[in-house]
Amino acid sequence: MANEQITVAVRIKAKPETRAEVREELHKLLAPTRKEKGCINYDMHVAKDDDCLFLFYENWTSEGDLNQHLAAPHVQHWINLAQTLLAEPMELSLWRKLD
């Protein structure tokens, strides 16, 4: 199971006054993460009707690679910032691809 491909969805809600900063900080995660081992895709989205609401859709070749990603310095930098920039806690969920 640990070597199975894993999908992550992350819902991130910025405060109206921090949305530009959140967008910028999240954007900084893309390039270094896409170079990480096991990263299949790491895509950032913004809601069509709410520019404070972001969604990350990520696929990793294994849970081990995902865990390594969490320990990466750029992710830890983001977690440091998240507490003050977000309107509510991030919602993370794990998915298994069926087809």
Partner: protein
């Protein structure tokens, strides 16, 4: 220099003692290294589904009010757990949602008491809440006991709430046993001078204190406009440390001569030897809010107090693997402590 070396050796000896004697079953996930990340991750990620609370407003004898959020208020349970939250916390704080969800699963009733001004609505008086307000805890737990005379009442305090609860337990001594059956304090800053010293300097001031101060300054500004307090607005806006805001507002409006006086008289550490209620004191040794050297040793607490100092966990950051993590360990540990003591 020699004294500094001796202090260092004493610190190392003390840390070995803490690690050996007060170990814990808790281990942080490997992907969440360090006390800061453990703390921040717990605040930044949602772990629990929303909890269905029913809010009740209690009018206080001094003309103010407290908002209490109850879970399972109509359940015929004989176990009742009451939670006192941390600085600027509420019933929506991650630890409150975790503990109340867990209590509910166990068939217990539960309540989160909002300190004054923390329920989403400003309180009526110029005063607010503070780290040493054990008189407030006394009034609340006595009232809860009166309302639920047949229930076993268990009290939990987290961070600031933990310090106030411990202070009340110490001051009340034997009398507390008639009200509260067991208690637990999590990440309590039992030595407020030590906590303020680490939070008011360096990176911790930037990561943690800045966020707390943003919220506290807003509250003081509202107090100035609602109650015409004699505090200058620029002075509030300039507050960037706990010392500054405690000197300007908390101390003078809650009966203390200065910030130092407030911290000294509000710290629960000197009272821990007087606790008569079986109490769990759970503090991670890498808590960024309280240096390890400030944690009480076995000789500094009564034999009713169980000290548990896991090496990791940060400040109320007891997240467990696997990713994205859960916040079940702390509620489980507390309920286990409460249940084990009954035998």
């Amino acid at each position: 220099m020699a004294q500094a070396r001796l202090d260092e050796l004493e610190g190392a000896r003390r840390n070995v003692t803490l690690a050996d004697e007060f170990s814990s079953g808790y281990r942080a996930p490997w992907w969440l290294p360090g006390g800061d990340l453990q703390t921040l991750y717990a605040y930044a990620v949602r772990f629990n589904a929303p909890v269905a609370y029913r809010r009740e407003r209690w009018e206080t004898p001094d003309g103010d009010f407290l908002d209490i959020d109850e879970v399972e208020p109509d359940r015929p349970s004989t176990k009742f757990v009451v939670l006192f939250h941390g600085l600027e916390g509420s019933s929506q704080s991650h630890y409150a949602l975790g503990l109340m969800a867990h209590a509910r699963r166990y068939g217990w009733r539960g309540a989160v008491v909002h300190f004054r001004g923390c329920s989403g609505e400003a309180n009526r008086l110029p005063r607010s809440y503070h780290c040493g307000d054990s008189a407030e805890i006394d009034w609340i737990v006595r009232r809860l006991k009166e309302r639920h005379p047949r229930s076993d009442l268990y009290a939990v305090g987290v961070s600031l709430g933990g310090n106030v609860l411990l202070k009340w337990l110490g001051e009340s001594g034997e009398a507390a046993r008639a009200i509260v059956k067991r208690a637990a304090a999590v990440s309590a800053p039992v030595d407020l001078n030590a906590a303020a010293r680490v939070l008011d300097f360096g990176y911790r001031k930037i990561i943690y204190t800045r966020a707390f101060l943003r919220s506290l300054r807003k509250k003081v500004l509202r107090k100035i406009s609602n109650h015409r307090l004699e505090i200058q607005i620029p002075e509030v806006l300039a507050c960037a440390t706990f010392r500054a805001i405690d000197e300007l507002y908390t101390a003078p409006f809650h009966g203390f001569a200065s910030a130092e006086d407030y911290w000294s008289r509000s710290s629960s550490k000197p009272l821990l030897k007087r606790i008569e209620v079986p109490t769990l004191l759970l503090n991670a040794r890498n808590d960024p809010f309280l240096p390890e050297r400030a944690l009480p040793l076995g000789s500094e607490v009564s034999d009713r107090v169980t000290l548990e100092y896991p090496a990791s966990g940060g400040h109320v950051g007891f997240v467990s693997s696997p990713f994205p993590g859960s916040f079940d360990w702390m509620p489980r540990r507390i309920v286990k402590f409460f249940s084990a003591c009954q035998r």
